[in-house]
């Protein structure tokens, strides 16, 4: 048995914490939260949210499983296949998560409770839609109490959504450097001046941003809002979020399939080979690296694999999310600067690597972008793949291919080792070649590799 350990991200809320025991996740509920937990069950809020697929379901577990003695209860939440973070979400993913949070806050008020935090990290994606994961985020509503999570909601959701929609979608990366949300005064400064004419943004971001600079005062204890006022605030936030839109326009990769050098027959052959290679791995989880809009991730998902479609392009990830490909979770990831361990003591948010390894990686038409587009030596690509996956299906694209020629068009070719033999040599210390096959109608080769025991 492995000693139970509290998750590095679960330390802020005194109501309880999440811990792992023998590979299973549990939630310790502290004695001080027991009355609120009773109300969560008895008010019907829990059932209402779980039935609507808005809150992750929890089973009761034995209190003796808790690593500390004061457990009022131990819950065993339904497993989320892969934890993802707001800085890895597309615009619509963040927007759907925001709207879910507001709907849950509204429902909580209807049941005599209030959502005591509105962290974007309390939302995860499973089965193509967002779900709230923090069962202890609800407390008994007290008449007159303002929504304590108002600022958190605006920093975690409204500010990044407004910046993505109205300035540049790439500003979502600010969530990676500000894991407790984008400071409202910063968001206000970055937004165009004309957004001060939009009532929702004027109130919840610009005015709020100015107010957030106020120093602490006892007057705050006199701030009081009726329940109707709270519902009105939630409704206004909902309208403001719904009014923010971002549409994918000619991005680097989102139109990739319309601009490849594959004939229809070659594409069909590639699909067939990828399907056969995936099946041979008997994998249960698949990470499609450089997945674009998830065309090949779909094949893995159809084989029953929990599939993540990682891509660097916000437009491609947005399209993959909107397409709602069954069994596929699209996420943003720049492999040349991947998600690191973040937060307190580097332990709150896991790196991509810490969330792996996947049973199988798909790396189709990717290696040349890393090796030539980013100058990463092939051996380093192989070493990193071996840290991310137990098996890998890798497409090698030679220099004769028009896509590689395009990469080399405006630069000197300083890659003498970039050829199929160099690829085999670089991957050999890390992976064993199980199968390889030329993709008919192209100059490319597909490899099925399995990781060596290093």
């Amino acid at each position: 048995m492995i000693a139970p350990a509290r998750l590095g991200s679960s330390f802020r809320d005194p109501s309880g914490f999440v811990f792992e025991r023998d590979g299973v996740l549990y939630r310790h509920v502290a004695e001080i939260y027991s009355e609120d937990l009773k109300l969560l069950w008895s008010s019907g809020l829990y059932d209402s949210l779980v039935e609507a697929g808005q809150l992750v379901a929890c089973a009761r577990a034995d209190v003796s499983l808790s690593p500390v003695p004061d457990a009022a209860a131990v819950l065993c939440p339904e497993r989320i296949p892969l934890i993802s973070y707001p800085y890895e979400w597309s615009f619509s993913q963040l927007k759907d998560a925001a709207l879910l949070t507001l709907e849950i806050a509204r429902k909580a008020l209807e049941h005599g409770m209030v959502l005591k935090d509105a962290s974007a990290y309390n939302v995860q994606f499973t089965k193509g839609k967002p779900v709230f994961i923090d069962t202890l985020s609800f407390e008994t509503y007290q008449e007159g109490e303002p929504w304590i999570a108002y600022r958190q909601f605006c920093s975690h959701f409204l500010a990044p959504l407004a910046l993505m929609a109205l300035v540049d979608v790439r500003l979502a990366s600010l969530l990676r450097t500000n894991i407790d949300g984008i400071p409202l005064d910063l968001a206000s400064d970055l937004l165009p001046g004309m957004t001060k004419l939009k009532p929702g943004l004027a109130m919840h971001l610009h005015l709020h941003g100015k107010a957030s600079k106020m120093s602490a005062t006892e007057d705050v204890k006199k701030a009081s809002i009726s329940k109707t006022g709270l519902l009105a605030s939630l409704d206004s936030l909902k309208g403001t979020v719904e009014g923010l839109r971002w549409e994918v326009k000619g991005t680097q990769w989102a139109d990739y399939y319309a601009d490849t050098n594959y004939s229809d027959a070659a594409m069909t052959e590639k699909r067939r080979l990828v399907g056969a290679f995936l099946q041979a791995t008997e994998a249960r989880t698949c990470w499609d690296l450089g997945a674009n809009t998830g065309e090949f991730s779909r094949i893995a998902a159809e084989l029953g694999m929990e599939t993540v479609a990682w891509d660097v392009d916000p437009g491609a990830v947005e399209r993959a999310y909107v397409a709602k490909i069954p069994g596929v979770l699209p996420l943003l990831q720049d492999l040349t600067n991947p998600s690191p361990n973040l937060g307190w003591a580097g332990g709150e948010r896991d790196s991509i690597e810490a969330r792996g390894p996947a049973d199988v990686l798909l790396a189709l038409a990717l290696v040349h972008h890393l090796a030539i587009g980013n100058n990463v030596p092939l051996a380093d690509v192989a070493a990193y793949f071996a840290r991310l996956g137990k098996n890998a299906i890798v497409e090698f694209v030679p220099k004769e291919d028009s896509q590689v020629r395009r990469l080399l068009a405006s630069r000197r070719d300083v890659f003498p080792a970039y050829h199929i033999e160099g690829f085999r040599e670089a991957f050999a210390p890390y992976f064993e070649v199980q199968t390889e096959a030329p993709i008919a109608g192209t100059s490319r080769t597909l490899f099925r590799l399995s990781r060596r025991n290093l």
């Binding site: 809320d13 935090d117 303002p146 600022r151 709020h208 009081s224």
Partner: protein, 61 residues
């Protein structure tokens, strides 16, 4: 409908977040305007639904 009374609130022992002085005050300040807007929106939705219902009844005849 507009409720902007200032009374001392009870702070829950479980409220572990710092809501922020400015955020709490601005929220209370905006609540009046937002409540009025919420009321107007609800009345408008009710009026629209009533007109639609009456219109549907007439077209059924």
């Amino acid at each position: 409908m507009i409720d902007l009374t200032l009374t001392t609130i009870h702070t829950s022992p479980l409220a572990y977040l710092d809501g922020g002085t400015g955020s709490m005050l601005i929220q209370a300040g905006l609540a009046g305007i937002l409540t009025a807007a919420y009321f107007v929106k609800a009345q408008w939705a009710f009026l629209k639904a009533t007109v639609m219902r009456v219109g549907n009844r007439q077209s059924d005849k």
